[in-house]
Protein backbone atom coordinates (compact mmCIF):
# COMPACT_ATOMS: atom_id res chain seq x y z
CA UNK A 1 0.00 0.00 0.00
CA UNK A 2 1.05 3.58 -0.65
CA UNK A 3 2.46 5.74 2.11
CA UNK A 4 -0.39 6.62 4.47
CA UNK A 5 -1.67 10.18 4.11
CA UNK A 6 -4.48 9.93 6.63
CA UNK A 7 -4.34 7.65 9.66
CA UNK A 8 -7.31 7.46 11.98
CA UNK A 9 -7.05 5.36 15.10
CA UNK A 10 -9.50 4.71 17.88
CA UNK A 11 -11.52 7.79 16.92
CA UNK A 12 -14.50 8.54 19.17
CA UNK A 13 -16.97 11.36 18.67
CA UNK A 14 -20.03 12.74 20.40
CA UNK A 15 -23.04 14.85 19.49
CA UNK A 16 -23.62 16.41 22.90
CA UNK A 17 -24.57 13.46 25.10
CA UNK A 18 -24.81 10.82 22.43
CA UNK A 19 -21.69 8.85 21.62
CA UNK A 20 -21.70 8.25 17.85
CA UNK A 21 -18.23 7.05 16.85
CA UNK A 22 -16.88 4.12 18.85
CA UNK A 23 -13.24 3.74 17.96
CA UNK A 24 -12.95 4.20 14.20
CA UNK A 25 -9.73 2.86 12.66
CA UNK A 26 -8.84 3.53 9.06
CA UNK A 27 -5.95 4.45 6.80
CA UNK A 28 -5.95 6.28 3.50
CA UNK A 29 -2.80 5.95 1.43
CA UNK A 30 -1.47 8.72 -0.79
CA UNK A 31 -3.20 8.68 -4.15
CA UNK A 32 -5.80 6.13 -3.04
CA UNK A 33 -9.54 6.42 -3.45
CA UNK A 34 -11.35 4.97 -0.45
CA UNK A 35 -15.08 4.47 -0.09
CA UNK A 36 -16.91 4.04 3.19
CA UNK A 37 -20.05 1.88 2.92
CA UNK A 38 -22.71 1.35 5.52
CA UNK A 39 -26.39 1.62 6.32
CA UNK A 40 -27.96 4.98 7.15
CA UNK A 41 -27.14 6.25 10.62
CA UNK A 42 -24.05 4.12 11.32
CA UNK A 43 -21.75 7.15 11.47
CA UNK A 44 -20.37 7.58 7.93
CA UNK A 45 -21.09 11.29 7.65
CA UNK A 46 -20.03 11.79 11.26
CA UNK A 47 -16.69 10.12 10.48
CA UNK A 48 -16.05 12.59 7.66
CA UNK A 49 -17.18 15.59 9.68
CA UNK A 50 -15.03 14.53 12.62
CA UNK A 51 -11.94 14.12 10.42
CA UNK A 52 -12.54 17.58 8.91
CA UNK A 53 -12.93 18.97 12.43
CA UNK A 54 -16.51 20.23 12.22
CA UNK A 55 -17.40 17.92 15.11
CA UNK A 56 -15.15 19.06 17.91
CA UNK A 57 -16.15 16.60 20.65
CA UNK A 58 -13.71 13.92 19.61
CA UNK A 59 -11.03 11.68 21.11
CA UNK A 60 -8.49 9.33 19.59
CA UNK A 61 -5.99 10.06 16.88
CA UNK A 62 -6.20 11.70 13.45
CA UNK A 63 -2.86 12.00 11.70
CA UNK A 64 -2.73 13.78 8.38
CA UNK A 65 0.55 13.91 6.51
CA UNK A 66 2.19 12.91 9.80
CA UNK A 67 0.61 15.82 11.67
CA UNK A 68 -1.70 15.37 14.67
CA UNK A 69 -4.97 17.07 13.69
CA UNK A 70 -6.92 16.85 16.95
CA UNK A 71 -5.80 20.19 18.31
CA UNK A 72 -5.97 22.00 14.95
CA UNK A 73 -8.76 24.62 14.80
CA UNK A 74 -11.38 24.19 12.08
CA UNK A 75 -10.13 27.04 9.91
CA UNK A 76 -6.65 25.47 9.82
CA UNK A 77 -7.81 22.06 8.57
CA UNK A 78 -8.00 23.22 4.97
CA UNK A 79 -4.54 24.76 5.25
CA UNK A 80 -3.20 21.40 6.40
CA UNK A 81 -4.46 20.02 3.06
CA UNK A 82 -7.94 18.61 3.64
CA UNK A 83 -10.82 19.72 1.39
CA UNK A 84 -14.46 18.94 2.13
CA UNK A 85 -17.54 18.58 -0.07
CA UNK A 86 -20.51 18.23 2.30
CA UNK A 87 -23.56 16.08 1.67
CA UNK A 88 -25.84 19.11 1.29
CA UNK A 89 -23.17 20.55 -1.11
CA UNK A 90 -23.08 23.89 0.68
CA UNK A 91 -23.54 26.16 -2.33
CA UNK A 92 -24.18 29.71 -1.17
CA UNK A 93 -27.31 31.37 -2.55
CA UNK A 94 -26.10 34.93 -1.97
CA UNK A 95 -22.91 34.27 -3.94
CA UNK A 96 -22.60 33.96 -7.71
CA UNK A 97 -21.25 30.75 -9.25
CA UNK A 98 -17.86 32.38 -9.66
CA UNK A 99 -17.85 33.73 -6.10
CA UNK A 100 -18.74 30.25 -4.87
CA UNK A 101 -15.93 28.82 -6.95
CA UNK A 102 -13.31 31.23 -5.64
CA UNK A 103 -14.55 31.29 -2.04
CA UNK A 104 -12.27 28.64 -0.47
CA UNK A 105 -8.80 30.16 -0.07
CA UNK A 106 -5.96 28.52 -2.02
CA UNK A 107 -3.93 26.66 0.60
CA UNK A 108 -1.13 25.15 -1.45
CA UNK A 109 0.40 25.19 -4.90
CA UNK A 110 -0.72 22.55 -7.35
CA UNK A 111 -4.40 23.44 -7.31
CA UNK A 112 -6.27 23.50 -10.58
CA UNK A 113 -6.20 26.92 -12.26
CA UNK A 114 -9.62 28.43 -12.80
CA UNK A 115 -9.35 28.22 -16.64
CA UNK A 116 -8.77 24.49 -16.36
CA UNK A 117 -11.74 24.13 -14.02
CA UNK A 118 -13.91 25.92 -16.55
CA UNK A 119 -12.62 23.54 -19.25
CA UNK A 120 -13.56 20.58 -17.09
CA UNK A 121 -16.95 22.09 -16.19
CA UNK A 122 -18.05 24.27 -19.13
CA UNK A 123 -21.52 24.73 -17.61
CA UNK A 124 -20.05 26.60 -14.68
CA UNK A 125 -18.32 29.03 -17.01
CA UNK A 126 -21.52 29.76 -18.88
CA UNK A 127 -23.38 30.47 -15.67
CA UNK A 128 -20.58 32.12 -13.72
CA UNK A 129 -22.61 35.20 -12.79
CA UNK A 130 -25.88 33.54 -11.77
CA UNK A 131 -26.57 32.87 -8.08
CA UNK A 132 -25.01 29.58 -6.98
CA UNK A 133 -28.26 27.93 -6.00
CA UNK A 134 -29.88 28.64 -9.38
CA UNK A 135 -27.81 25.78 -10.80
CA UNK A 136 -29.28 22.29 -11.16
CA UNK A 137 -28.48 19.71 -8.50
CA UNK A 138 -25.82 18.12 -10.69
CA UNK A 139 -24.21 21.45 -11.54
CA UNK A 140 -24.20 22.36 -7.85
CA UNK A 141 -22.37 19.12 -7.06
CA UNK A 142 -19.82 19.88 -9.81
CA UNK A 143 -19.38 23.36 -8.34
CA UNK A 144 -18.94 21.94 -4.83
CA UNK A 145 -16.17 19.66 -6.12
CA UNK A 146 -14.65 22.24 -8.47
CA UNK A 147 -14.18 24.87 -5.77
CA UNK A 148 -12.09 22.44 -3.70
CA UNK A 149 -9.91 21.52 -6.71
CA UNK A 150 -8.75 25.13 -6.94
CA UNK A 151 -7.35 25.11 -3.41
CA UNK A 152 -4.50 22.63 -3.86
CA UNK A 153 -5.53 20.33 -1.02
CA UNK A 154 -4.08 16.80 -0.96
CA UNK A 155 -7.14 14.98 0.33
CA UNK A 156 -10.62 15.44 -1.06
CA UNK A 157 -13.39 14.31 1.30
CA UNK A 158 -16.79 13.82 -0.36
CA UNK A 159 -20.05 12.95 1.34
CA UNK A 160 -22.40 11.07 -1.00
CA UNK A 161 -21.52 12.99 -4.16
CA UNK A 162 -24.06 11.14 -6.34
CA UNK A 163 -27.05 11.36 -4.01
CA UNK A 164 -30.21 12.31 -5.85
CA UNK A 165 -28.51 12.89 -9.20
CA UNK A 166 -29.42 11.61 -12.66
CA UNK A 167 -27.35 8.67 -14.03
CA UNK A 168 -25.70 10.78 -16.71
CA UNK A 169 -24.51 13.28 -14.06
CA UNK A 170 -23.32 10.43 -11.84
CA UNK A 171 -21.24 9.16 -14.74
CA UNK A 172 -19.80 12.63 -15.26
CA UNK A 173 -18.81 12.90 -11.59
CA UNK A 174 -17.18 9.46 -11.91
CA UNK A 175 -15.12 10.72 -14.85
CA UNK A 176 -14.06 13.80 -12.91
CA UNK A 177 -12.97 11.73 -9.91
CA UNK A 178 -10.99 9.43 -12.24
CA UNK A 179 -9.24 12.42 -13.75
CA UNK A 180 -8.38 13.62 -10.27
CA UNK A 181 -7.05 10.21 -9.37
CA UNK A 182 -4.78 10.25 -12.40
CA UNK A 183 -3.46 13.57 -11.20
CA UNK A 184 -2.56 11.96 -7.86
CA UNK A 185 -5.39 13.30 -5.69
CA UNK A 186 -6.29 11.24 -2.64
CA UNK A 187 -10.03 10.81 -2.21
CA UNK A 188 -12.14 9.63 0.73
CA UNK A 189 -15.84 9.32 0.10
CA UNK A 190 -19.03 8.01 1.56
CA UNK A 191 -21.22 6.43 -1.08
CA UNK A 192 -24.35 4.29 -1.30
CA UNK A 193 -24.08 3.74 -5.03
CA UNK A 194 -22.04 0.50 -5.44
CA UNK A 195 -21.68 0.63 -9.16
CA UNK A 196 -20.37 4.15 -9.00
CA UNK A 197 -18.05 3.32 -6.10
CA UNK A 198 -16.69 0.16 -7.73
CA UNK A 199 -15.58 2.17 -10.77
CA UNK A 200 -13.45 4.61 -8.81
CA UNK A 201 -12.51 3.10 -5.42
CA UNK A 202 -9.32 1.16 -4.63
CA UNK A 203 -10.49 -0.03 -1.24
CA UNK A 204 -13.66 -0.15 0.82
CA UNK A 205 -14.44 0.15 4.48
CA UNK A 206 -17.70 -1.21 5.79
CA UNK A 207 -19.05 0.67 8.76
CA UNK A 208 -21.57 -0.37 11.43
CA UNK A 209 -22.46 1.01 14.86
CA UNK A 210 -19.82 3.73 14.78
CA UNK A 211 -16.93 1.42 13.84
CA UNK A 212 -15.24 -0.01 10.76
CA UNK A 213 -16.23 -3.68 10.70
CA UNK A 214 -14.36 -4.79 7.60
CA UNK A 215 -11.98 -3.60 4.94
CA UNK A 216 -11.34 -5.01 1.46
CA UNK A 217 -9.84 -4.05 -1.91
CA UNK A 218 -12.04 -3.47 -4.96
CA UNK A 219 -10.96 -6.87 -6.38
CA UNK A 220 -12.91 -8.60 -3.59
CA UNK A 221 -16.07 -6.63 -4.26
CA UNK A 222 -17.74 -9.22 -6.58
CA UNK A 223 -17.38 -12.09 -4.13
CA UNK A 224 -18.62 -9.94 -1.24
CA UNK A 225 -21.61 -8.56 -3.11
CA UNK A 226 -24.13 -10.95 -1.52
CA UNK A 227 -22.98 -10.26 2.03
CA UNK A 228 -22.89 -6.54 1.39
CA UNK A 229 -26.40 -6.54 0.01
CA UNK A 230 -27.56 -8.31 3.13
CA UNK A 231 -25.69 -6.02 5.52
CA UNK A 232 -26.67 -2.84 3.75
CA UNK A 233 -30.22 -3.96 3.08
CA UNK A 234 -30.23 -2.73 -0.51
Amino acid sequence: MAKPLLEVSNLNAWYGESHVLHGVNMTVGEGETITILGRNGVGKTTTLRTIVGIIRERKGEIRFDGKDMLGVPLHKTAHAGIGFVPEERGIFSTLTVEENLTLPPVVAQGGMPIEEIYELFPNLKERRSSPGTKLSGGEQQMLAIARILRTGVKLLILDEPTEGLAPVIVQRIGEVLKTLKERGMTVLLVEQNFRFASRIADRFYLMDHGQMVSEFPVSELPQRMDTLHKVLGV
Binding site: H75, F84, P86, F92, T94, L95, L103, P104, T151
Partner: protein, 295 residues
Protein backbone atom coordinates in the same frame (compact mmCIF):
# COMPACT_ATOMS: atom_id res chain seq x y z
CA UNK B 1 -46.85 81.19 -3.06
CA UNK B 2 -46.73 77.72 -4.56
CA UNK B 3 -48.90 75.28 -2.69
CA UNK B 4 -48.78 71.50 -2.71
CA UNK B 5 -51.71 69.58 -1.25
CA UNK B 6 -52.71 72.78 0.54
CA UNK B 7 -49.29 73.16 2.14
CA UNK B 8 -46.75 75.88 1.22
CA UNK B 9 -44.07 74.31 -1.00
CA UNK B 10 -41.31 75.65 1.23
CA UNK B 11 -42.67 73.96 4.33
CA UNK B 12 -43.06 70.76 2.35
CA UNK B 13 -39.50 70.82 1.02
CA UNK B 14 -38.12 71.87 4.38
CA UNK B 15 -39.63 68.85 6.10
CA UNK B 16 -38.63 66.64 3.21
CA UNK B 17 -35.02 67.71 3.83
CA UNK B 18 -35.30 67.06 7.57
CA UNK B 19 -36.80 63.69 6.73
CA UNK B 20 -33.88 62.95 4.42
CA UNK B 21 -31.38 63.91 7.13
CA UNK B 22 -33.05 61.79 9.78
CA UNK B 23 -33.36 59.07 7.16
CA UNK B 24 -29.59 59.26 6.58
CA UNK B 25 -28.94 58.53 10.24
CA UNK B 26 -31.57 55.79 10.29
CA UNK B 27 -30.00 54.23 7.20
CA UNK B 28 -26.42 54.31 8.53
CA UNK B 29 -27.47 52.90 11.89
CA UNK B 30 -29.87 50.24 10.64
CA UNK B 31 -27.27 49.18 8.05
CA UNK B 32 -24.77 48.46 10.83
CA UNK B 33 -27.40 46.66 12.89
CA UNK B 34 -28.39 44.53 9.90
CA UNK B 35 -24.77 43.60 9.11
CA UNK B 36 -24.11 42.63 12.73
CA UNK B 37 -27.36 40.71 13.06
CA UNK B 38 -26.83 38.89 9.76
CA UNK B 39 -23.47 37.42 10.70
CA UNK B 40 -23.35 37.40 14.50
CA UNK B 41 -27.07 36.80 15.13
CA UNK B 42 -26.76 39.39 17.87
CA UNK B 43 -29.32 42.17 18.26
CA UNK B 44 -26.86 44.89 19.10
CA UNK B 45 -28.55 47.04 21.72
CA UNK B 46 -25.27 48.91 22.19
CA UNK B 47 -25.64 50.40 18.71
CA UNK B 48 -27.13 53.66 19.98
CA UNK B 49 -24.33 54.01 22.48
CA UNK B 50 -21.75 53.44 19.75
CA UNK B 51 -23.40 56.29 17.82
CA UNK B 52 -23.23 58.46 20.95
CA UNK B 53 -19.58 57.47 21.51
CA UNK B 54 -18.79 58.57 17.96
CA UNK B 55 -20.19 62.04 18.62
CA UNK B 56 -18.45 62.28 22.01
CA UNK B 57 -15.15 61.08 20.58
CA UNK B 58 -15.31 63.87 17.98
CA UNK B 59 -16.15 66.46 20.63
CA UNK B 60 -13.45 65.31 23.07
CA UNK B 61 -10.85 65.09 20.32
CA UNK B 62 -11.58 68.73 19.50
CA UNK B 63 -11.60 69.84 23.15
CA UNK B 64 -8.43 68.07 24.28
CA UNK B 65 -6.33 67.64 21.18
CA UNK B 66 -7.68 70.26 18.82
CA UNK B 67 -8.49 67.58 16.26
CA UNK B 68 -10.89 69.13 13.77
CA UNK B 69 -14.10 67.75 12.31
CA UNK B 70 -12.49 66.30 9.19
CA UNK B 71 -9.97 64.19 11.05
CA UNK B 72 -12.58 63.26 13.65
CA UNK B 73 -14.82 61.96 10.87
CA UNK B 74 -12.15 59.32 10.19
CA UNK B 75 -10.53 58.90 13.62
CA UNK B 76 -13.68 58.59 15.69
CA UNK B 77 -15.13 55.61 13.75
CA UNK B 78 -11.68 53.96 13.97
CA UNK B 79 -11.50 54.44 17.75
CA UNK B 80 -15.08 53.26 18.32
CA UNK B 81 -14.58 50.39 15.85
CA UNK B 82 -11.50 49.29 17.78
CA UNK B 83 -13.47 49.52 21.01
CA UNK B 84 -16.16 47.35 19.37
CA UNK B 85 -13.51 44.83 18.29
CA UNK B 86 -12.24 44.54 21.87
CA UNK B 87 -15.80 44.10 23.20
CA UNK B 88 -16.56 41.39 20.62
CA UNK B 89 -13.30 39.49 21.03
CA UNK B 90 -13.19 39.37 24.82
CA UNK B 91 -16.83 39.51 25.90
CA UNK B 92 -19.49 39.06 23.22
CA UNK B 93 -17.77 36.10 21.53
CA UNK B 94 -18.10 34.09 24.74
CA UNK B 95 -21.87 34.18 24.41
CA UNK B 96 -22.30 32.72 20.89
CA UNK B 97 -22.71 29.18 22.19
CA UNK B 98 -25.61 30.27 24.40
CA UNK B 99 -29.11 31.36 23.46
CA UNK B 100 -29.16 34.54 21.29
CA UNK B 101 -31.01 36.28 24.11
CA UNK B 102 -27.75 36.48 26.07
CA UNK B 103 -26.12 38.55 23.34
CA UNK B 104 -29.06 40.95 23.44
CA UNK B 105 -28.92 41.16 27.25
CA UNK B 106 -25.18 41.72 27.20
CA UNK B 107 -25.30 44.54 24.67
CA UNK B 108 -28.26 46.07 26.51
CA UNK B 109 -26.29 46.01 29.77
CA UNK B 110 -23.26 47.47 28.01
CA UNK B 111 -25.42 50.26 26.61
CA UNK B 112 -26.87 51.13 30.03
CA UNK B 113 -23.44 51.09 31.67
CA UNK B 114 -21.79 53.32 29.10
CA UNK B 115 -24.71 55.71 28.89
CA UNK B 116 -24.79 55.97 32.69
CA UNK B 117 -21.06 56.63 32.82
CA UNK B 118 -21.29 59.42 30.26
CA UNK B 119 -24.27 60.93 32.07
CA UNK B 120 -22.26 60.90 35.27
CA UNK B 121 -19.26 62.54 33.59
CA UNK B 122 -20.96 65.03 31.28
CA UNK B 123 -24.52 65.48 32.58
CA UNK B 124 -27.70 64.82 30.67
CA UNK B 125 -27.85 68.11 28.80
CA UNK B 126 -26.35 68.36 25.34
CA UNK B 127 -23.20 70.17 24.36
CA UNK B 128 -22.80 72.00 21.09
CA UNK B 129 -20.38 70.97 18.36
CA UNK B 130 -19.77 73.63 15.77
CA UNK B 131 -20.41 73.06 12.10
CA UNK B 132 -17.00 73.04 10.37
CA UNK B 133 -16.24 76.40 8.78
CA UNK B 134 -16.09 74.96 5.25
CA UNK B 135 -19.69 73.76 5.55
CA UNK B 136 -21.16 76.67 7.47
CA UNK B 137 -23.93 78.84 6.11
CA UNK B 138 -26.48 77.97 3.53
CA UNK B 139 -27.46 78.44 -0.02
CA UNK B 140 -30.68 79.60 -1.58
CA UNK B 141 -31.90 77.00 -4.02
CA UNK B 142 -34.63 79.34 -5.25
CA UNK B 143 -37.45 77.21 -3.91
CA UNK B 144 -35.91 76.80 -0.45
CA UNK B 145 -32.96 77.69 1.79
CA UNK B 146 -30.53 74.77 2.22
CA UNK B 147 -28.07 74.75 5.13
CA UNK B 148 -24.91 73.40 3.48
CA UNK B 149 -24.02 71.11 6.36
CA UNK B 150 -27.37 69.32 6.08
CA UNK B 151 -26.88 68.77 2.38
CA UNK B 152 -23.43 67.39 3.18
CA UNK B 153 -24.90 64.95 5.72
CA UNK B 154 -27.34 63.58 3.15
CA UNK B 155 -24.69 63.16 0.45
CA UNK B 156 -21.94 61.67 2.61
CA UNK B 157 -24.34 59.26 4.36
CA UNK B 158 -25.56 58.06 1.02
CA UNK B 159 -21.95 57.54 -0.10
CA UNK B 160 -21.14 55.63 3.11
CA UNK B 161 -24.20 53.42 2.62
CA UNK B 162 -23.32 52.71 -1.01
CA UNK B 163 -19.69 52.08 -0.04
CA UNK B 164 -20.72 49.55 2.62
CA UNK B 165 -23.12 47.88 0.21
CA UNK B 166 -20.35 47.60 -2.41
CA UNK B 167 -17.95 46.21 0.21
CA UNK B 168 -20.44 43.48 1.09
CA UNK B 169 -21.82 42.69 -2.36
CA UNK B 170 -18.84 43.17 -4.64
CA UNK B 171 -15.60 42.34 -2.84
CA UNK B 172 -13.83 39.15 -1.83
CA UNK B 173 -14.15 40.07 1.84
CA UNK B 174 -17.85 40.68 1.25
CA UNK B 175 -18.26 37.22 -0.29
CA UNK B 176 -16.74 35.74 2.88
CA UNK B 177 -19.20 37.78 4.94
CA UNK B 178 -22.20 36.70 2.86
CA UNK B 179 -21.13 33.06 2.83
CA UNK B 180 -20.47 33.06 6.57
CA UNK B 181 -23.92 34.56 7.12
CA UNK B 182 -25.38 31.52 5.35
CA UNK B 183 -23.14 28.77 6.72
CA UNK B 184 -20.32 29.85 9.06
CA UNK B 185 -19.15 26.30 9.81
CA UNK B 186 -18.56 25.40 6.16
CA UNK B 187 -16.78 28.70 5.46
CA UNK B 188 -14.50 27.96 8.39
CA UNK B 189 -13.91 24.42 7.14
CA UNK B 190 -12.75 26.01 3.86
CA UNK B 191 -9.97 27.72 5.77
CA UNK B 192 -11.44 31.16 6.47
CA UNK B 193 -10.85 32.43 9.99
CA UNK B 194 -14.51 33.07 10.80
CA UNK B 195 -13.94 34.24 14.41
CA UNK B 196 -11.78 37.10 13.10
CA UNK B 197 -14.45 37.83 10.49
CA UNK B 198 -17.02 38.18 13.29
CA UNK B 199 -14.78 40.61 15.16
CA UNK B 200 -14.27 42.65 12.00
CA UNK B 201 -18.01 42.74 11.34
CA UNK B 202 -18.85 43.97 14.82
CA UNK B 203 -16.14 46.62 14.53
CA UNK B 204 -17.51 47.66 11.12
CA UNK B 205 -21.03 48.05 12.54
CA UNK B 206 -19.75 50.02 15.53
CA UNK B 207 -17.60 52.18 13.25
CA UNK B 208 -20.58 52.98 11.00
CA UNK B 209 -22.60 53.97 14.07
CA UNK B 210 -19.75 56.23 15.22
CA UNK B 211 -19.53 57.75 11.74
CA UNK B 212 -23.23 58.62 11.97
CA UNK B 213 -22.53 60.03 15.43
CA UNK B 214 -19.85 62.42 14.15
CA UNK B 215 -22.14 63.53 11.31
CA UNK B 216 -24.93 64.09 13.83
CA UNK B 217 -22.83 66.08 16.32
CA UNK B 218 -23.28 69.49 14.58
CA UNK B 219 -26.95 68.80 13.73
CA UNK B 220 -28.17 67.66 17.13
CA UNK B 221 -26.34 68.31 20.37
CA UNK B 222 -23.76 65.90 21.71
CA UNK B 223 -25.50 64.26 24.65
CA UNK B 224 -25.22 60.93 26.47
CA UNK B 225 -28.87 60.26 25.66
CA UNK B 226 -28.66 60.88 21.91
CA UNK B 227 -28.19 57.17 21.29
CA UNK B 228 -31.20 55.92 23.21
CA UNK B 229 -33.35 58.61 21.58
CA UNK B 230 -32.65 57.36 18.10
CA UNK B 231 -32.05 53.63 18.59
CA UNK B 232 -35.68 52.69 19.22
CA UNK B 233 -36.65 54.23 15.88
CA UNK B 234 -33.73 52.44 14.23
CA UNK B 235 -34.91 49.10 15.57
CA UNK B 236 -38.31 49.86 14.05
CA UNK B 237 -36.56 50.63 10.74
CA UNK B 238 -34.76 47.29 10.83
CA UNK B 239 -37.99 45.45 11.61
CA UNK B 240 -39.77 47.18 8.71
CA UNK B 241 -36.88 46.55 6.31
CA UNK B 242 -36.45 42.95 7.34
CA UNK B 243 -33.61 41.63 9.48
CA UNK B 244 -30.50 40.73 7.57
CA UNK B 245 -31.16 42.58 4.31
CA UNK B 246 -28.45 45.18 3.68
CA UNK B 247 -30.15 47.08 0.86
CA UNK B 248 -33.46 46.75 2.71
CA UNK B 249 -32.00 48.47 5.77
CA UNK B 250 -30.65 51.37 3.70
CA UNK B 251 -33.80 51.96 1.64
CA UNK B 252 -36.12 51.60 4.63
CA UNK B 253 -34.00 54.07 6.61
CA UNK B 254 -34.49 56.77 4.00
CA UNK B 255 -38.13 55.87 3.36
CA UNK B 256 -39.12 56.06 7.00
CA UNK B 257 -37.12 59.25 7.57
CA UNK B 258 -39.05 60.88 4.73
CA UNK B 259 -42.35 59.42 5.92
CA UNK B 260 -41.68 60.94 9.33
CA UNK B 261 -40.75 64.31 7.85
CA UNK B 262 -43.83 64.49 5.62
CA UNK B 263 -46.11 63.50 8.47
CA UNK B 264 -44.84 66.61 10.25
CA UNK B 265 -46.22 68.67 7.38
CA UNK B 266 -49.57 67.00 6.92
CA UNK B 267 -50.46 65.79 10.41
CA UNK B 268 -47.84 66.94 12.93
CA UNK B 269 -49.53 65.22 15.87
CA UNK B 270 -48.70 61.80 14.40
CA UNK B 271 -45.08 62.48 13.45
CA UNK B 272 -43.65 60.82 16.57
CA UNK B 273 -45.55 57.60 16.09
CA UNK B 274 -45.81 57.26 12.31
CA UNK B 275 -42.77 54.94 12.10
CA UNK B 276 -44.21 52.64 14.73
CA UNK B 277 -47.59 52.60 13.03
CA UNK B 278 -45.86 51.58 9.78
CA UNK B 279 -43.93 48.95 11.71
CA UNK B 280 -47.12 47.49 13.15
CA UNK B 281 -48.77 47.37 9.73
CA UNK B 282 -45.72 45.75 8.12
CA UNK B 283 -45.50 43.18 10.93
CA UNK B 284 -49.15 42.29 10.37
CA UNK B 285 -48.93 42.01 6.58
CA UNK B 286 -45.32 40.93 5.98
CA UNK B 287 -43.80 39.60 9.21
CA UNK B 288 -40.38 39.10 7.58
CA UNK B 289 -40.22 42.80 6.65
CA UNK B 290 -40.42 44.58 3.31
CA UNK B 291 -37.09 43.21 2.08
CA UNK B 292 -36.84 40.13 4.31
CA UNK B 293 -35.66 36.97 2.61
CA UNK B 294 -38.07 34.65 4.41
CA UNK B 295 -41.13 36.50 3.20
Amino acid sequence: MTMIFGIPLQAFLGQLLIGLINGSFYALLSLGLAVIFGLLRVINFAHGVQYMLGAFAAMLMLQYFGINYWFALILSPLVVGLFGAVIERFLLSRLYKLDHLYGLLFTFGLALTLEGTFRYLYGASGQPYAVPAQLAGGTNLGFMFLPIYRGWVVVVSLLACIGTWLLIEKTKLGSYLRAATENPVLVQAFGVNVPVLLTFTYALGAGLAAFAGVLAAPVYQVSPLMGSNIIIVVFAVVVVGGMGSIMGAILTGYMLGIAEGLTKVFYPEASNIVIFVIMAIVLLLRPAGLFGRDA
